[in-house]
């Protein structure tokens, strides 16, 4: 499966993922304390420069991820124009765009494996208390593997619907689809148990 991390390798890919995530949290909270439109415009410009530095492909991928904000920018723009407070509107839009663009920047410059390493590190206290986090790790791997498997099965269900009906496939497919997923869960559960299960670590 394709992760959202950028194909263009940047220097930021080698920075520690935990540090990037912590910095993102601090920066996002900080954004809500900036009231000055000039400072926010500076922040937006700085973020835009950060997106431009790694090259055109990176910029294009980054801007594509921000497209989801357009409807909200339009809503705020119209709203603020109607009540006649455009400066406040600009502050709201710039703050929103900066928060999402920064978070997106961290996602783009952090490899999936590094992110999962952070998750593993975050669950360290659980292991201290003797709880096994093996279940979480196997579950993450299972989802990544099962998404394409289920997509494939869903595709085949759609095809068999099309072979029999003239109408378009509808939500009715969700029932057989869920049954397939439940049956798969049965088999996967048995397979996990057959391979030693998840509790063996604690028993030994």
């Amino acid at each position: 499966m394709i992760s959202l991390s950028s194909p263009v390798k940047t220097a930021a890919h080698d920075w520690p993922a935990g540090l990037k995530l912590a910095a993102l949290c601090v920066a996002t909270v900080g954004l809500f304390y900036i009231e000055s439109p000039l400072i926010l415009a500076g922040v937006v410009t700085a973020i835009l420069i950060a997106y431009t530095l790694p090259g055109r492909a990176f910029l294009r991928a980054g801007l594509a991820a921000l497209k989801l904000l357009w409807p909200f920018i339009v809503i705020v723009a119209i709203w603020q124009a109607v009540i006649g407070e455009l400066v406040q509107g600009a502050v709201i839009v710039m703050r929103m765009v900066s928060a999402v663009a920064l978070a997106n920047l961290v996602s783009m410059t952090t490899r999936l494996s590094d992110m999962i390493a952070v998750v593993r590190w975050l669950t360290t206290p659980l292991r201290r208390f003797g709880l096994s986090t093996a279940a979480l790790e196997i579950a993450i791997a299972l989802v990544i593997r099962m998404v394409p498997v289920l997509t494939n099965k869903g595709g085949r269900l759609t095809e068999s619907w099309r072979a029999r009906a003239t109408r378009r496939p509808s939500w009715r497919l969700v029932l057989p689809f869920t049954l397939l997923a439940l049956d798969d869960a049965d088999h996967v559960g048995d397979a996990l148990r057959a391979r030693g299960g998840l509790t063996s670590e604690r028993e030994t």
Partner: protein, 181 residues
């Protein structure tokens, strides 16, 4: 243990795959996606605890950068965006849906799933989603609510579909509806 891990992982994957179902556009131009249907279904079928864990696992994978949300979205940005409140509400929505189905046994299964999905998937989810929206857009809670009202009919339909699906599942595989076991 293994069975539960497999169920939670499979439902997390199911929520992801439901996003691939082409969105239906209601008569008045509001798109509805099947993804939030998956959230309600996880609670209704797996029960409160496992349902919430399945949704948490799904969101964890979205957060680490997999494009599993409807429209191929994912990464950390979606959590900080205007609709982030809805994402944060999803584990609780699945939990509440499952909790109601587990506890309210004096009515037929379909009725308790419908009420659970309305309270969890609509009332609770919109309450948190609207708070997030009002923070991001700098609008009051009432103004933000008015922006979201158009989506509620679609979600009511989803709650009905989830109730019908859960009843059919309990007929096809009586043991599969864990919230009632």
């Amino acid at each position: 243990m293994e069975k539960n891990v497999a169920l939670i992982a499979l439902f997390a994957a199911l929520i992801a795959v439901l996003a691939l179902i082409p969105k239906i556009t209601l008569g008045f131009g509001v798109p509805i996606t099947a993804q939030s249907l998956g959230i309600m279904l996880a609670g209704a079928v797996l029960g409160s605890k496992r349902g919430a864990l399945a949704v948490l696992l799904f969101l964890l994978l979205v957060a680490v950068g997999l494009p599993l949300l409807a429209g191929g979205r994912g990464g950390l940005g979606v959590f900080f965006g205007p609709t982030g409140g809805f994402l944060f509400s999803w584990p609780l929505a699945a939990w509440l849906t499952g909790f109601i189905v587990e506890k309210w046994r004096s009515v037929p299964l379909g009725a308790s799933v419908f009420v659970g999905a309305i309270l969890g998937g609509i009332v609770l989810s919109y309450a948190m989603g609207i708070v997030g929206l009002s923070l991001a857009l700098g609008k009051s809670l009432i103004e933000s609510t008015s922006l979201m009202l158009v989506f509620i009919p679609g979600d009511m339909i989803k709650a009905l579909i989830v109730a019908a699906l859960t009843v059919s599942l309990s007929r096809a595989r009586p043991s599969s509806v864990l919230s009632r076991h």
